[in-house]
């Protein structure tokens, strides 16, 4: 699997939450396609060298949310129709990233308008590049 989940010990979120969010993101971005297998709890725990119970907790929440499904004796897979990211989730994630960006801008001494401009510019560049790739 080329898609990977990263764990950051300095992240305020517990490790099971980082796994949950990481897998959700991989599914949302298409890096993990519907029906694709995901590593077993044992494999992922061993690879990341974390407690299997922690991985199991993250996976269980993903199963409960309908993102992953367990096929007895076969393994764990991305659901065929994983639920799309909800508006609330999107809003929360955007807000968190925006807070980090705002803190950085304030620390650099940037004005409000300059900060907003830089986001708009980045958005335009990203949109143009995406269009160029024909997506």
């Amino acid at each position: 699997m080329s898609a990977v989940v990263h764990i950051d010990p300095k992240d305020a979120a517990p490790i099971w939450r980082q796994i949950e969010d990481g897998v959700r993101r991989l599914v949302a971005s298409g890096a993990l396609a519907p029906g694709a297998p995901v590593p077993s709890v044992r494999e992922l725990a061993r690879e990341l060298r974390i407690n299997p119970a922690t991985v199991a907790k993250g996976y269980q929440r993903l199963v409960d949310a309908g993102v992953l499904l367990v096929r007895r004796g076969e393994g764990t897979f991305v659901a065929d129709n994983p639920p799309p990211t909800t508006a609330t989730e999107r809003r929360e994630e955007l807000a968190a990233a925006a807070r980090r960006f705002a803190a950085l801008a304030a620390t650099l001494g940037a004005a409000r308008s300059e900060t907003v401009n830089s986001i708009e510019k980045a958005w335009d560049e990203f949109a143009a590049a995406r269009k160029g790739r024909g997506q």
């Binding site: 764990i7 010990p9 300095k10 992240d11 305020a12 517990p14 490790i15 709890v41 044992r42 725990a45 061993r46 990341l48 060298r49 974390i50 407690n51 299997p52 119970a53 922690t54 803190a103 304030a106 620390t107």
Partner: protein, 302 residues
């Protein structure tokens, strides 16, 4: 849960060496299925605690229950149910891995030959080489293999990766993770390798001068500790930081840094109310929390 005794239960443990108190009035429990990381600097009392627990040393006072029984009086019987990886790999130097495994298999009724053989192959520990000629990493791997050989109910790891290189350390933890996945054993581990144990521990104890300053779940511990960083021109007075319960306050090249052991919404709101004084609030790794707790000169409550 109710019919299985708590694997480790210490109450009011005191250990003395002459006039020196190595462990003072210490109580802690390791619950079934948990991984308890006991942390402390050298000389903090970790080894004394472990020796008492394993019935190798008598405590001055206090109760030590191992798998529900008295750790001292029942020590011989109890050791059949506990797996131990000692700080110093310890085995007769002339014996090979094959001989050591055969020897241990006679001591334990629950010995599992197949899993021992499989683990030795996975570690690539040569079976015919005398213990004294194995590398440090191989010795550690062999000790872990032997400790797990009888499917112990409790695993006690006393600084098991000390002196091992990065690769050997990684393999050690991978094997421990696999064991947790397969059997869900209860583990008590002392270590200085905080980065590695952070992903595995469910509970953390921090010892300083024989006193247990921290004893709680890893998640709540990480949730309550934060580093606050202030710019030079905006640093609050020391009294203000004490009001927030700041543990370690230090001047850095960039300003002032403080560790708050009970960060919550109220603390955040207070900082907010006093104007944007906090330049940054950062979550902390276990290693940083440990340093803040034991490096705090005054000791006291964390």
């Amino acid at each position: 849960m109710n019919d299985t005794p708590t694997p480790v239960r210490l109450e009011g443990l005191n250990v003395r060496y002459g006039a020196v108190k190595a462990v003072r009035d210490l109580s802690l429990s390791v619950w079934a299925g948990s991984v308890y990381a006991l942390l402390g600097r050298n000389g903090s009392g970790k080894s004394s605690l472990v020796r008492c627990l394993l019935g190798q040393q008598r405590a001055a006072s206090g109760q030590i229950h191992l798998l529900g029984e008295d750790a001292w009086r029942r020590r011989t019987r109890l050791m059949r149910r506990v797996g131990v990886v000692p700080e110093e790999p310890d085995a007769p130097l002339a014996m090979t891995a094959r001989q050591l495994a055969a020897f241990c298999s006679h001591l334990y009724p629950t010995w599992d030959d197949a899993s021992v053989a499989e683990r030795l192959s996975r570690f690539a520990v040569p079976r015919g080489v005398p213990f004294g000629r194995l590398s440090k990493g191989q010795k550690g791997q062999l000790m872990l293999t032997l400790a797990l050989g009888h499917r112990p109910e409790l695993l006690v790891l006393d600084d098991p990766t000390i002196g091992l290189d990065v690769v050997a350390r990684r393999e050690f933890y991978e094997e421990l993770v696999a064991e947790l996945a397969d059997r869900g054993a209860t583990v008590l581990i002392t270590t200085h390798d905080l980065a590695a144990v952070e992903g595995i521990a469910t509970h953390v104890g921090i010892l300083k001068d024989g006193e247990l300053l921290v004893d709680e779940g890893l998640e709540p511990l990480k949730a309550r500790f934060r580093t606050l960083r202030f710019g030079p021109e905006r640093a609050p007075a020391a009294g203000e930081l004490r009001g927030l319960g700041a543990l370690a306050v230090c001047k850095t090249a960039w300003g002032l840094e403080a560790v708050v052991p009970r960060f919550d919404e109220a603390v955040a709101a207070r900082l907010q109310a006093e104007g944007d004084v906090a330049v940054a609030v950062e979550a902390m790794s276990l290693e940083e929390i440990f340093s803040a707790v034991v490096g705090n000169g005054a000791g006291g409550e964390a």
